[in-house]
């Protein structure tokens, strides 16, 4: 049962990264892809109706972590206090910038909102990577199951590298989305960006394998002990190649989907390499939290499996309706600036 919930949680986080990943990436690229205030307005329009729903996967994922592994939730959130509040305040700033931008028709206000939006989007992508890096590297849990990481220890060299990779990967993902969804000069620029941004994330993806092994040998040995788990890194690499192929053929929708699969495959690899740890201790330290020590009671998980499944069917239905409504017309189809 605990393994099942590890999978559910992983699935929700992966969905979050794939969905909110593209609007974070779009945000991070706002200033590069949108040259004028009016173009930046159209870039935010492209994600306007859906970004909030995407972000709910994070909130619901957090709720599910609290439900299924309360000890891990308590330890991670209190130990990474500064990191969590950084995320929190960035989420607040970003949400307000996106939702309040169109409330005033004033170029100063638009400029202020755009700046908050792109800075917070880029920073969030980076900080999520830093968080993942800290989990993979492990944290200094004490015997009571708590730890404290000061801000500059949260920003350790390995976590910063993963943060950089996350920023590169999500910026690439966002460019893929814009390449698919926009026309005109904006679309041309987005496609150019998607091509260029393919390389940093691909290179970092392979380069980071070694530091990951260095901070946690178990990531590799766990996979080599169960070779079938290599299917996840294989999916990630396959999706990466597919992204490149689709881009070459100018099939932008497929390229976006391949990029989504890459992110999912990469996260699945990380989850497989960590299993059964949910909040590991630093390499060589005791007191790490596994899914067995951190899990809630059996009855709670059994009941939750039932309602969670119903809830997910509903959520997927809502998202299908919403995306079918909004993905029909391309943003700025009628905008006549070339193409």
């Amino acid at each position: 049962m605990t393994t099942v919930w590890y999978l559910f949680l992983g699935a929700m986080i992966a969905t979050y990264v794939v969905l909110d990943g593209f609007d974070l990436g779009v945000g991070a690229l706002l200033r590069i892809v949108g040259r004028t205030e009016e173009e930046r307005g159209r870039v935010t329009d492209a994600i306007g109706p859906v970004w909030n729903g995407n972000e709910v996967w994070l909130i619901a994922g957090g709720g599910v972590l609290f439900l299924s592994f309360p000890r891990a939730y308590a330890a991670a959130f209190s130990g990474l206090y500064f990191g969590m509040f950084l995320v929190l305040w960035l989420l607040i700033g970003r949400g307000l910038a996106l939702e309040l931008r169109h409330q005033l028709d004033n170029s100063l206000w638009h400029a202020a909102c755009d700046t908050v939006f792109w800075l917070s989007s880029a920073a969030l992508a980076f900080v999520f990577g830093v968080a993942l890096g800290n989990v993979v590297r492990g944290v200094p849990l004490n015997a009571q199951g708590y730890f404290h990481l000061p801000l500059f220890s949260i920003l350790n060299w390995y976590a910063l590298l993963i943060g950089l990779f996350a920023l590169a990967a999500l910026a690439h993902h966002g460019a893929r989305f814009l390449a698919w969804r926009t026309h005109g000069a904006l679309g041309v620029r987005a496609r150019g960006l998607a091509r260029v941004l393919f390389w940093p994330q691909a290179v970092l993806f392979f380069l980071l394998a070694w530091p990951t092994y260095h901070v946690r040998h178990a990531t590799l040995t766990h996979l080599t002990n169960r070779p079938w788990l290599f299917v996840f890194p294989a999916i990630a690499i396959g999706a990466l190649v597919a992204t490149w192929v689709f881009q070459h053929r100018a099939q932008w929708q497929h390229a976006f989907l391949a990029s989504s699969l890459f992110l999912a495959g990469m996260l699945a690899s990380a989850a497989a390499a960590l299993y059964p740890n949910i909040l590991p201790a630093r390499q060589g330290h005791p007191y790490g939290l596994t899914i067995h020590t951190a899990a809630t009671g059996h009855h709670a998980l059994v009941v939750a499996t039932i309602w969670w499944s119903i809830g997910m069917v509903l959520a997927i239905t809502y998202f299908t309706v919403a995306y079918r409504t909004f993905l029909r017309p391309k943003v700025d189809v009628t905008y006549g600036d070339g193409d």
């Binding site: 159209r42 329009d45 306007g48 109706p49 909030n52 729903g53 709910v56 619901a60 994922g61 957090g62 709720g63 599910v64 609290f66 439900l67 309360p70 939730y73 308590a74 330890a75 959130f77 209190s78 206090y81 969590m84 509040f85 995320v87 929190l88 989420l91 607040i92 307000l96 996106l98 309040l100 169109h102 409330q103 005033l104 004490n142 009571q144 199951g145 708590y146 730890f147 404290h148 809630t296 009671g297 009855h299 709670a300 009941v303 939750a304 309602w307 969670w308 809830g311 509903l314 959520a315 809502y318 998202f319 309706v321 919403a322 409504t325 909004f326 391309k330 943003v331 700025d332 009628t334």
Partner: protein, 471 residues
């Protein structure tokens, strides 16, 4: 402010109070937007159901009002969402030992809120706001209803969580953790039903007074007469129904639960120090916890005993027979919050009642005094709602889970969160929320100042630009 628990408490009190200002209106206005959209969508000249019997022009007014309220709703919802996230985070960051202790039970309801409410609210709000003219009318109506349902479902799971903290049931456990023993037991908590009903009618009251108050504002300014009259009428009728429900049965039954299940809270709400039969109901008075007495009182003899038990001479437990370590941290806070809530509730009932009587022969639309009263009543509904929550939360102290876990034992250990760190984020929230507190009214005033579109159009140029394909 060196004690970390004190800082944690102030931070949660600040963020929870500030946050709740927004869901009150989300849930309250959501109901009225859904109603107005339903009337304008399903209304016919000769509909069998009388409230739906509306002419084409009346339906247009309803739609126009719904559009205006949707603009307010959108800003309000956005701020509600971003200020809500800190609460979920703080369970882990500042209240780690509480999360560790109670996560086995309240993890259920908190996760259910995310899964069953937030997905519905956020996806359908996107569709609803882009709505008018862009999606099929039926889907648009469905989204208005789903946004309303989502916000009320969200409220349900939050109240279910709070009800368990007020009156823990359906758990098993040792001193370090509790585990869920019965899922249905958790959802059929005797505390839950009345608390939910009382809370939701409170939120709906704010919605009703917002609708009536806005109508009154336009009438006083001599603008948008037709739509303003629709608002005043619908708002006043709803406000009267809700004010009555707020007091009886929901308020009465919720107070009865407190009297039976949280004696220390009930005694503090009434500042009842001495045990005794035939306790009086205090209307006015200042509690003095040092001398354990109420001073300057105006009271109704025996009424408190009667209201709690329908027996004029019922014996009630006073604070003197409860050890001080089990008293709420601040008895006067609980007392004043409760009395402010009840006092405002009574005044609002009177305003709604008089307004209702003045609807006959349309006298209300021309009575300056009544329109002023309606307009000024709206902010007081917020105070009443917040005062109610302060009664519940400060009244539950010194427990975070009543009778099981003391608030002091629920905070994150100092080994994880030193008090200086928590103080920094508390100060950060003060700054951030001051900024939001300035921006939000600015946008609302702007929307209200522009007013409704007098002639509803099928395409909506005044709608948020984000959802429109540029053209």
């Amino acid at each position: 402010v060196t004690n970390v628990v004190t800082v944690d408490r102030w931070q949660f009190a600040l963020t929870a109070t500030f946050h709740y200002l927004f869901p009150i209106l989300t849930m309250g206005l959501g109901l009225f937007i859904a109603w107005m959209t339903t009337v304008s969508h399903w209304g016919r000249d000769n509909h069998r159901f009388r409230p739906f019997r509306k002419s084409a022009i009346e339906r247009e007014r309803y739609e126009s009002a719904a559009r205006l309220f949707a603009k307010i709703f959108a800003v309000n919802f956005a701020v509600g969402v971003v200020t809500g996230i800190p609460l979920e985070f703080q369970f882990g960051t500042n209240w780690a030992r509480f999360s560790n202790y109670a996560g086995g039970v309240i993890g259920q309801t908190l996760a259910m809120e995310g899964v069953f409410a937030f997905f519905a609210e956020s996806t359908f709000l996107g569709i609803f706001l882009s709505g008018w003219g862009r999606v099929r009318p039926r889907l648009h109506w469905v989204s208005a209803v789903m946004v309303f349902v989502g916000s009320w479902v969200s409220g349900f799971f939050i109240i279910a969580t709070n009800a368990w903290m007020q009156h823990p049931v359906a758990y098993s456990g040792n001193g370090t953790h509790v585990q869920l023993k019965s899922f249905w037991g958790l959802l059929s908590n005797p505390w839950l039903g009345w608390q939910y009903a009382h809370n939701m009618s409170g939120a709906a009251m704010t919605g009703a007074f917002a609708v009536a108050g806005l109508g009154a504002f336009y009438l006083l300014l001599n603008r948008h007469h037709e739509i303003a009259r629709v608002c005043v009428r619908a708002g006043v009728i709803a406000a009267l129904i809700l004010c009555i429900l707020q007091i009886f049965p929901t308020g009465d039954r919720a107070a009865n639960n407190v009297a039976n299940m949280q004696r220390s809270t009930f005694a503090s709400m009434e500042a009842l120090f001495h045990d005794g039969r035939g306790a009086p109901l205090v209307i006015i008075g200042n509690p003095d916890t040092e001398r354990r007495t109420l001073e300057s009182t105006v009271e109704m003899p025996h009424f408190l005993s009667f209201l709690t038990s329908h027996n004029w001479n019922q014996e009630l437990t006073g604070l003197n027979s409860i050890p001080t370590r089990d008293w709420p941290t601040s008895v006067p806070l609980v007392y004043y919050a409760y009395h402010i809530m009840v006092g405002l509730g009574t005044i609002l009932l009177v305003i709604a009642g008089v307004g209702f009587l003045m609807l006959r022969r349309a006298r209300i639309y021309t009575s300056k005094a009544m329109l002023w009263a309606l307009m000024l009543a709206f902010p007081f509904t917020y105070i009443a709602n917040i005062a109610g929550w302060i009664t519940a939360e400060a009244g539950r102290q010194p427990w975070v889970v009543f009778g099981l876990l003391r608030t002091n034992s629920g905070a994150s250990p100092v080994a994880a969160v030193p008090s200086g760190v928590a103080l920094f984020t508390l100060i950060g929230f003060l700054g951030l929320y001051a900024a939001i507190g300035v921006l939000f009214p600015m946008f609302i005033v702007r929307i209200v100042g522009r007013g409704p579109d007098e002639v509803p159009e099928s395409t909506s140029p005044a709608e948020p630009a984000e959802l429109q394909p540029a053209s």
